[in-house]
Structures are given as C-alpha cells and as structure tokens.
Symmetry: C2
Subunit: 162 residues, 2 copies
Amino acid sequence: METLVARIALALVAQGRTLATAESCTGGWVGALLTDLPGSSKWYLGGVIAYSNELKKQFLDVPSDLLETHGAVSAETAQAMVEGIRKKTESDLALSITGIAGPGGGTPDKPVGLVLMGIAAPPPFETVVFEHQFEGSRAEIRKEAALAALQHVLDAATSQPE
Amino acid sequence: METLVARIALALVAQGRTLATAESCTGGWVGALLTDLPGSSKWYLGGVIAYSNELKKQFLDVPSDLLETHGAVSAETAQAMVEGIRKKTESDLALSITGIAGPGGGTPDKPVGLVLMGIAAPPPFETVVFEHQFEGSRAEIRKEAALAALQHVLDAATSQPE
C-alpha cells in the first residue's frame, strides 16, 4: 500500500496534478492511506465519505432517481460519484468507490464483495468504471478494495501525463 | 479502537442518533475505523475529508476570512468545520479534526502534534472544541488523534441522551 501511495505521489507531483476521492464502502480508508504519506497535501485535496445515499446526493450531486433505478452499488452510481467529486473539488484526477463490504447487504444480483470504482480525469479522458468481485471477510474485502483503488489511481496517474 | 467504535455504535443505535465527520489531518481514518464495524451505516452517515482549505470552504462552508485570520489549524476552524458538517448532513452528532500531523508544517505557535477537535450536537448542546498536543511520528500523532476523537464522540454519545 505504502509503495503504491508513494508512486501515486511521485506521478502527481511531477505533473502538478491533484486527486480527490469519493468513498462509500471503504469509509475513508483510501483517504487515510493517501494521507499517511507526509506532504500529501501537495496533491491530495481530500474528498467525501459518501456512506449514506443522502451524502451521495448532498455532496456529490448523485441524482435521486439514479440511486433509485440502479442502486447505490452500481456502475452508474460509481460514475456519478466520481464525476461529482471531480466537479465539486476541481481536482484533476478523481476516484470513487461503492460496494458491498458485508457481511450483510448482499443479494443474488449484487453479492457481498461487489465493488465498483470510478476514475475521472479531464477531457479527452472519459470516466472509466471498474467492477470487482472480492472474496473474504468485511475487513478483507475493504482491504482488497482499497488496494485495487490505489492501483487504478496509479494507472490513471501514470498513463495520462499532461 | 474497535471497542470504542462498538460502544459508540451501541449508544447511537439505542438513541436512534446519527454521526457525521469532517477530518483534515486524519485524512479519513476516523471514518475508516467507524465503518470497520458491520452495520455502521445505521448510525454513521459519512462525512468530508477536508484536507485542503478549498474543500473546507466548498463542503463545510468554513469562511475564507476565518481561515485567513485564524488558520486551518485553530479552534475557530474546528468549530466551523463541525458545525458545517452537522448542518450539511443533518446529523445528530458531528466530529471535526484539524491538526498538524507533521513532520513538516509546525511553527512555534502551532507545533507539530497540535490537533483541534470539535463536537457538535443539537441545541441546547453547544459546540465544544478540544485542544490536544500529541507527540511522536506522523503515524503516531494520527493514531493518537483518531483515538482521542473516538473518545470524544463516545463521551458526547453517552452524555447527551435524548
């Protein structure tokens, strides 16, 4: 995790770019990992822990009808969250995470461990949503989700130089 | 930490009350700790990782002139952050944390390890701001801050039954 964060920091500082996050099922853990690194305020603006649907609407402008139609754990919500946080914070890169960490809350269509992650960046980059199906306990799923999220951020930070 | 979170959860669920957080120097770690517990969505709404001053203004309505006059690490900012997050999320209880985790950023007046925490609740409760001076590495200061924050939340949750 620490190595991933250090590599994200190097890439973003070199490019003078910033990052913001919108986390649901990880509850702020990605933000905590990013800010473990001294000097992270140079490139990490912060973000929103959009744990409840109300906060997804309030802080990220996720539309109510989108949440009702597709659910909080959906590619559509992940996309709306990441575009919402990028717009609100005016960050260069943005990350969103929404999923079912369990042990409750799973359904046949959306089992425990399903996690959607969005990555947004300025045009011509188009928002990408990644779907993961993690296994294990709540703690394991959250850890796997945080790790995958950092990897997606690193990929975006290193593949999209200005 | 886990015991503190479990006790917060018990108190809030028993009272049907909710919590929101606004973290700066802990970067989302308190949110991550709160959501480690299954079922935390019953009482934890989420919050804001207000790492940059821009996000303190954008999401928490902390006034620019307050930040300029008193600085981001001040009792005034901690109070504005906690009242901002409670108002925006309509939570019952709210917590804010702003401080200097180091290793850089300290001054004689505001040394590394200085952390201010605000607790807000509905009237007649008045917002309280606690000042801490922690010692140690960045990781130790952040851990001590998260621990103290959870203790303040528990105190507020158990001393203010409706």
